[in-house]
């Protein structure tokens, strides 16, 4: 298994508890504009921070919405993918 695969699996291991730690979003795949758009769209559901040392992103679902953590974090990830794909197409 490649190191990147391990890091991503590890980052996503905490989705059900409302946390993604050190998610490295590859800017060659997800442009800055897509990341900004996704962060903006999910700001009312999540708290975003830069992960210490790794350059990745820490995402925490707001406590009052923790029961829907997986759906919120997953929707964030799919939003990113769709936005990145639409920007590539244009």
């Amino acid at each position: 298994m490649k190191e990147t695969t391990k890091k991503i699996l590890s980052a996503l291991a905490g989705v059900d508890s409302g946390e993604i730690h050190g998610l490295a979003l590859d800017r060659g795949l997800y442009p800055e504009a897509s990341v900004n758009a996704a962060v903006e769209a999910f700001r009312e559901h999540c708290l975003f921070a830069e992960a210490a040392g790794t350059g990745g992103m820490d995402i925490h679902v707001r406590p009052e919405q923790r029961s829907e953590s997986r759906q919120i974090l997953g929707a964030f990830l799919n939003f990113l993918l769709c936005d990145a794909l639409s920007r590539r197409a244009s």
């Binding site: 490649k2 190191e3 699996l9 291991a13 590859d26 997953g74």
Partner: protein
């Protein structure tokens, strides 16, 4: 048996728990655009993250189940099938795209785009030489 050897290739799909699956994709086989499109098609059934690996020419696609129910074991296989489908679509587009555009353009055009004289030429002048003796 000569000519047939046991495969030593590493497995390329890895599960972490029942609802998280990572698939490593060889970009020498599939274009980045094909991978994007294949991943997009799976977004209705799972959550998807892509990342290029430290080894050039490889990409990791991580699939997260939409509920904490176990992710379907066949999803990795479906991703591979979808990758193949998208790659073939892309190849066909580059081979036949210009022909398709011409057919569509001809369907909406009033005259003959390939041979305007065929429809609009003056029969008395016989520009195609149809009445000429051979």
């Amino acid at each position: 048996m000569q000519g047939i050897r046991a495969s030593t290739a590493e497995p390329r799909a890895f599960a972490l728990g029942p609802s998280l699956l990572a698939v490593e994709v060889d970009l020498s086989l599939y274009s980045l655009q094909a991978v994007f499109r294949a991943c997009y098609k799976l977004t209705g059934r799972c959550y998807v993250v892509m990342a290029r690996t430290e080894e050039p020419g490889w990409l990791t696609v991580t699939l997260l189940a939409k509920t904490s129910e176990p992710i379907a074991g066949s999803l990795a296989g479906e991703l591979y099938n979808e990758l193949l489908d998208q790659q073939i679509r892309e190849s066909l587009e580059s081979e036949m795209g210009s022909v398709r555009e011409l057919i569509v353009a001809q369907a909406f055009a009033e005259g003959n785009l390939l041979d305007p004289l065929r429809d609009e030429g003056n029969y008395e002048e016989d520009p195609l030489g149809i009445g000429r003796r051979r």
